[in-house]
């Protein structure tokens, strides 16, 4: 379980997160939706411990939280001249987990003997995801896990999230593709200007989608005067 209390974060005069409260329970999948710049990534980085100058509290039943957390960033970073296999080895030894059996556990059929920096966007995402899965984490933060990946892998990632849920893991996801949240989440939180404005349960997901369309699209297209 992860409990976030009164989390507030600012970059200089710019308030990015304001008084965030969230409880993440085991075996549940939580979705975060919000416009670009709403504060999703900052929230994730605060939970991960990659941002430290915040006020409020982030507690977890396993300590320290970061040692049990798999964090998939929106744009995973790869070191130059490192192969997929070496990247996965680094992630495993960093957490002192057994070295992967690359022949069996390479479920995305990635070219692990090639340099990771030469992978396509989708392959990079899959390699980074595979890395945090092989670390045997208890908590997962997946920032845009479906970005850039093909339809087959999309289905596989959805199945992985369901499996993690069955195993009692705690999962926090952000996605701009609403259908992926619809397929995986137990509840969705709407983040607007650094504050949670709504908590939506599965029965109301369709309504939330419609409302978001209204807010985001509305009559903006008219302004373009497309002909």
């Amino acid at each position: 379980m992860i409990v976030i209390d009164h989390l507030t974060k600012a970059y200089g005069p710019k308030q990015v997160l304001q008084d965030i409260h969230l409880t993440l329970s085991p075996g549940k999948v939580y979705g975060i939706v919000g416009e670009n710049g709403a504060g999703k990534t900052t929230l994730f980085r605060c939970i991960a411990g990659l941002e430290t100058a915040y006020t409020g509290q982030i507690r977890s039943d396993l300590q320290p939280l970061k040692n049990h957390l798999g964090f998939l960033p929106t744009n995973p970073i790869f070191l130059p001249k490192i192969t997929g296999k070496e990247y996965l080895t680094l992630l495993s030894i960093a957490r002192k987990t057994p070295l992967p059996d690359f022949n069996v556990q390479n479920i995305f059929d990635l070219p692990l003997d090639e340099f990771a920096e030469n992978y396509s966007t989708g392959m990079k995402k899959k390699l980074a995801l595979l890395g945090i899965l092989l670390q045997q984490n208890t908590y997962f933060i997946l920032d845009e896990p479906f970005n850039g990946i093909d339809i087959q892998s999309n289905m596989l990632v959805t199945a992985i999230i369901h499996q993690l849920k069955k195993l009692g893991k705690t999962i926090l996801i952000s996605s701009h593709i609403f259908s992926t949240l619809n397929d995986t989440c137990d509840e969705i939180h709407l983040l607007r200007e650094g504050t949670f404005t709504r908590r939506v349960l599965p029965g109301d997901f369709a309504q939330l989608n419609e409302e978001m369309k209204q807010v985001m699209v509305g009559n903006r297209l008219d302004a373009l005067d497309l002909r």
């Binding site: 970061k66 964090f71 070496e86 680094l90 030894i93 957490r95 003997d113």
Partner: protein, 320 residues
């Protein structure tokens, strides 16, 4: 100035001129980030380069080879594929060629000038010719060929570093061979120390914080794991050189042992210095201390604990 105004200004001063002014601005910003004003920065780099060059030519008769090798290493970086693709996309073909020829010429000039000053006119002319040839070539930025390394289970510094500098290890082999062939022990020691200097370069640049954050370790455990890996990996190159030299020069085994020990201490120093500045790059005072340690190794016994304490503090926010 408005965007339109900028465009007019750029047009007036000429595209090539503007490009080089931009390069100077980027270098100035790097000096500022390093904690030094640009003018003293240029003077310091110039002084360090001159001293280094003089020192090298005083030490060995193979200095022209090593010097030309180093110069081409620096110049070849401007031929990196992605960078050239960007430049070729930005500028018309003639201006692009002109920029590349000029920048490689500027980079080669100090090295060629020093070679000429030392009387190596042929080497000087050859260096300029190869530098200008490099201006016409784009080196692949991310080669697809994966050079195998013995460090697969010890990512990542030596894997990345070895793949970037493997040619330098041929030079180490060549220097060791020459040292034994001509009975020059000092040259041999230089080869042994060079393996450590190469290892040190793998720790100059900080990795993204994510690659520190992933470690389930406290700062102390993290630092000593890094040290262990560095000592193990550096031994792959330094110990064989030391061993061969020990057979060839048995009367100097004690000196070889001391050089090996100092090499390990230098690795320790660079690792602690890197994380003392983390996530920023090593700054000027730290670089000065490092230089001091290289010049007079006994100082390392003071510098190492100083960097170690700073590194522990710096890592505290990412590792608990």
């Amino acid at each position: 100035m408005s965007t339109a105004g900028n465009r007019v200004a750029v047009h007036q001063i000429g595209t090539v001129n503007y490009y080089f002014k931009l390069q100077v601005r980027i270098i100035n910003r790097r000096f500022s980030a390093f904690g030094i004003s640009p003018l003293p920065g240029y003077l310091l780099v110039g002084f360090a380069w001159a001293m280094g060059s003089i020192y090298l030519f005083q030490q060995t008769q193979y200095a022209p080879i090593i010097y030309a090798f180093l110069a081409l290493g620096v110049i070849s970086r401007s031929s990196e594929h992605q960078r050239n693709e960007f430049l070729a996309g930005c500028f018309p073909a003639v201006q692009y060629r002109l920029i590349r020829l000029l920048e490689n010429g500027i980079l080669a000039l100090p090295f060629a000038g020093f070679l000429a000053y030392q009387g190596y006119w042929l080497w000087s002319a050859g260096l300029i010719a190869i530098a200008e040839l490099f201006a016409l070539i784009r080196f692949p930025s991310s080669p697809t060929y994966v050079l195998p390394t013995p460090f697969q289970r010890y990512p990542f510094e030596f894997i990345v570093g070895f793949r970037s500098t493997y040619l330098a290890y041929f030079l180490v082999g060549l220097l060791t061979y020459q040292a034994i062939r001509v009975g020059n022990f000092n040259l041999g020691i230089f080869a042994q120390v060079l393996t450590f200097l190469l290892g040190m370069t793998y720790y100059f640049r900080p990795e993204p914080p994510y690659f520190v954050w992933i470690f389930a370790a406290n700062p102390r455990q993290f630092l000593w794991r890094k040290v262990g890996t560095a000592v193990y990996c550096a031994s792959w190159f330094s110990l064989p050189v030391g061993f061969i030299l020990g057979i060839a020069f048995p009367e100097n085994i004690a000196i070889l042992g001391v050089a090996q020990l100092v090499g390990y201490l230098l690795l320790l120093t660079i690792i602690f210095a890197k994380y003392a500045a983390f996530p920023a790059e090593i700054n000027l005072p730290q670089a000065f201390l490092l230089g001091l340690g290289l010049w007079f190794p006994p100082v390392l016994l003071v510098i190492i604990p100083y960097f170690y304490r700073q590194a522990l503090q710096r890592l505290q926010t990412l590792l608990t």
